[in-house]
Symmetry: C2
Subunit: 456 residues, 2 copies
């Protein structure tokens, strides 16, 4: 079935005056006495291509003019009124009809309504734009790291360890429900892996293994959290970008994170101008300005201790109390990023008690060399730290937390053999898509979102 992509015919002068074949779905249709018009799209473009039918010359099946029908069109590409090319049809072949009960009839549908039909909402302009931006951003991430000598590694998704020390994990089993086993030990001993296995919440520990050999690595794959929460920012399955960099200390990794974010945003502005314009018009007024501001200004860096002072002196009434040692809540983060800075902010050097065992302990004995990147509207999109490279300090931190040392033997070995300063971060891919598109519910930037009770 030789044919051209709608995108190519729409945007390439070469085709003007030539006979072309395109395929696609009918997105709008108008029928008058002498002429019929329809807009066709094969998904390769946010804009549709107009097809013009001279009814004196060409008889077209009524079914081929219905919204949602799929057709093949042969015709001449001619200069269009709105776009570079439209098509004067010579032949229109109906490929698949669209019956009257096609749910996406021509009217505005709410995002809530569209969530009830994940298999069809992809055919709307909104999801066409979201999915393309998501794809382009994923590729930007690969291009950024590959062009800086990073090695892409795939850390295991099924794992016997639990990166966060505790955390809500899914169990992976080939047994499932069974009344055959008295104890957990018997059950898991008989299971596929011979022990309890879970879905990875982060590839960091194995990412460190790779970085201690390949120097600069990044992962880009799914992570899983069995969080029993129903918010617009949480899903049970999300995509995670986790670079890990040997010989990098906290200031180095902060520089890398900022550089990477700016690269992605610059790239998507360049490659998806129509999509970003669409989001600016429909979903977040001022989006383009916001993104241009981001790439043209330095991110702020704010010490946690100063952040607490800033919040205490704000005169604001917060729901959650602010004091040194407390974790920052969404309301605090929003105040700092949206009201004080109105741009991305790295908060650095958190109290060690509220952060993970693997973070490098600062000389003050109270804080760790960690940072979260907060952005207006979305909140935290990056969690980052220099890792504890000192064997004794790491062991002490693990023992303090009553962790099972023997389960981390590989990880600890990295501090025994040629240990080096190293740092890494985790970027929630969907979070940055939300930031770039202005979509406010994470369910609308994922093909099939997974949340508690929802697995359609």
């Amino acid at each position: 079935m030789k044919h051209l992509d709608v995108k190519d015919v729409l945007t390439n002068k070469e085709y003007t005056g030539k006979e072309v074949t395109v395929c696609g779905w009918v997105r709008t249709a108008r029928d008058s006495k002498n002429m019929a018009f329809f807009e066709l799209n094969d998904g390769t473009s946010l804009k549709h291509i107009q097809v013009v039918i001279d009814k004196a010359v060409l008889n077209v099946d009524d079914e081929a003019l219905k919204l949602g029908a799929s057709v093949k069109v042969v015709g001449t590409a001619v200069e269009g009124r709105q776009e570079l090319n439209e098509i004067n049809a010579k032949e229109v072949v109906l490929l698949g009809a669209s019956p009257a009960d096609y749910p996406l009839q021509k009217k505005r549908h709410t995002l809530e309504f569209l969530r009830t039909m994940p298999h069809l909402r992809t055919r709307t302009n909104t999801f066409n734009a979201v999915l393309r931006v998501r794809s382009v951003m994923a590729n930007s991430i690969h291009t950024y790291f590959q062009s800086h000598n990073y090695v892409y590694v795939n850390t295991p998704l099924i794992t016997g360890s639990d990166c966060e020390g505790a955390g809500e994990t899914f169990t992976v089993t080939t047994i499932g429900h069974s009344d055959k086993y008295k104890t957990s030990d018997e059950y898991y001993a008989d299971d596929f892996f011979g022990r309890r296995a879970t879905l990875s919440v982060s590839g960091q520990l194995e990412g460190e293994v790779a970085a201690m050999a390949m120097g600069k690595i990044y992962t880009f794959g799914p992570s899983f959290r069995a969080e029993n929460s129903n918010t617009p920012r949480h899903v049970a399955e999300f995509w995670h970008v986790e670079p890990e960099v040997a010989f990098a200390e906290l200031p180095d990794i902060i520089e890398i994170a900022e550089d990477m974010i700016k690269y992605i945003v610059r790239d998507v502005l360049e490659k998806c101008p129509e999509e970003i314009k669409f989001f600016d018009e429909r979903f977040e007024k001022g989006l383009i300005d916001k993104l241009n501001n981001l790439i043209n200004n330095d991110f702020a860096i704010l010490d946690y201790t100063d952040a607490v002072k800033m919040l205490e002196e704000s005169g604001k009434q917060f729901q959650y109390p602010v004091y040194w040692g407390a974790d920052l809540q969404t309301e605090h983060e929003r105040y700092i990023t949206e009201e004080v800075y109105n741009k991305p902010v790295f908060i650095t050097n958190y109290p060690k008690a509220i952060k993970s065992f693997y973070m490098k302990q600062n000389p003050d004995g109270k804080t760790v060399a960690a940072t979260d990147l907060l952005v207006p509207g979305v909140g935290e999109i990056i969690g980052c730290s220099e890792r504890e490279a000192d064997y004794d300090k790491l062991m002490a931190a693990m023992k303090e937390r009553n962790m099972k040392i023997e389960e981390y033997a590989d990880y600890i070995d990295l501090r025994r053999f040629g240990s080096v300063p190293h740092s890494g971060f985790g970027l929630g891919f969907e979070r940055i898509i939300m930031y770039v598109t202005g979509m406010t519910n994470i369910r609308d930037v994922i093909l099939y979102p997974r949340t508690v009770g929802n697995i359609r």
Copy 2:
């Protein structure tokens, strides 16, 4: 910690004569009366950089000359004997020592031995090369599809459906072992998703959903198979590339698959010449010729029916019988690809009884428009088919197999609303890495391989 990548200093003339700082691990060391030499690598390169120490000028800690130690070196890049640049050291700082029990002492280790230490084998030349080739190939795949207007989609990994109709799947649960539930129904009703959830064996069904909107899509993510088999070619967790193309029939998708494979191989030959040479010398003599042959010749296309005839007339004694209707076994595939063609072969139009419900039924009533791509040494690397786009035929095939129609409502809808001819394939990423590197065990092309009983 500002420093340069070893790769850049090694390969860039600009640095010759300049002062540079590099970091890395000691890979070999020699000490004589007046001079000391060591080779350093930070993982960015297969080749090490030589560091020269004039002992009259610089006193170096003995610990910094031990295999596996990590050091920072400041010095002058000077033209090297073997490589473009080596470094005359001005300063050598020990970052992390490598004690005497470091397991990777200087001798050849078998791949079997290295599998016992996945966290350290990454520091060998072999795994440095494998991981870099893997990374470059992953990026080639993205570049290929993105440059052809495909949209990268992330299909869900936790799923309620089972693409292959049956198949060995992992269950995903937040309950695990429990004696609280009498029946499976009660157990799963109480589980995180309110029903039984499994790990996806393929993103195809959701990939089709995306392709019926975006036209040309590809997935690139993990798939999971709870296969209780211990072979050099099977793992429970592997990475899967699954393009799905609207308006493509079987001959179109065959063309795409061949074009993509050649693109990847051409790209890796260009970007990793040293790594491929290394594999040619150490693991598969003639590898480079094999890969050049692949990119310079058409793949063979052989009808299943002709393949059966060819096997029957071969005069070979096969362990498994050959007859029309039988699935081809590894021995049959090897005969065809290795003895008859000695190049990749697409076997087309398999009997419908041995293939999946979603494959397009051919007019002969006996076969389906499916193809497997077989390559010498590795066997099947691609499973491919045109999908059944006809509603009635799809329903009939599902009923014949006693499938639960209601679980596939979304998928079936695609045939109700603007159905189009479309095709797709699945490429086992590790399989093609094996083909390109000459590694013969899939466990050696994955950071942490997952097989039955093995989850270190």
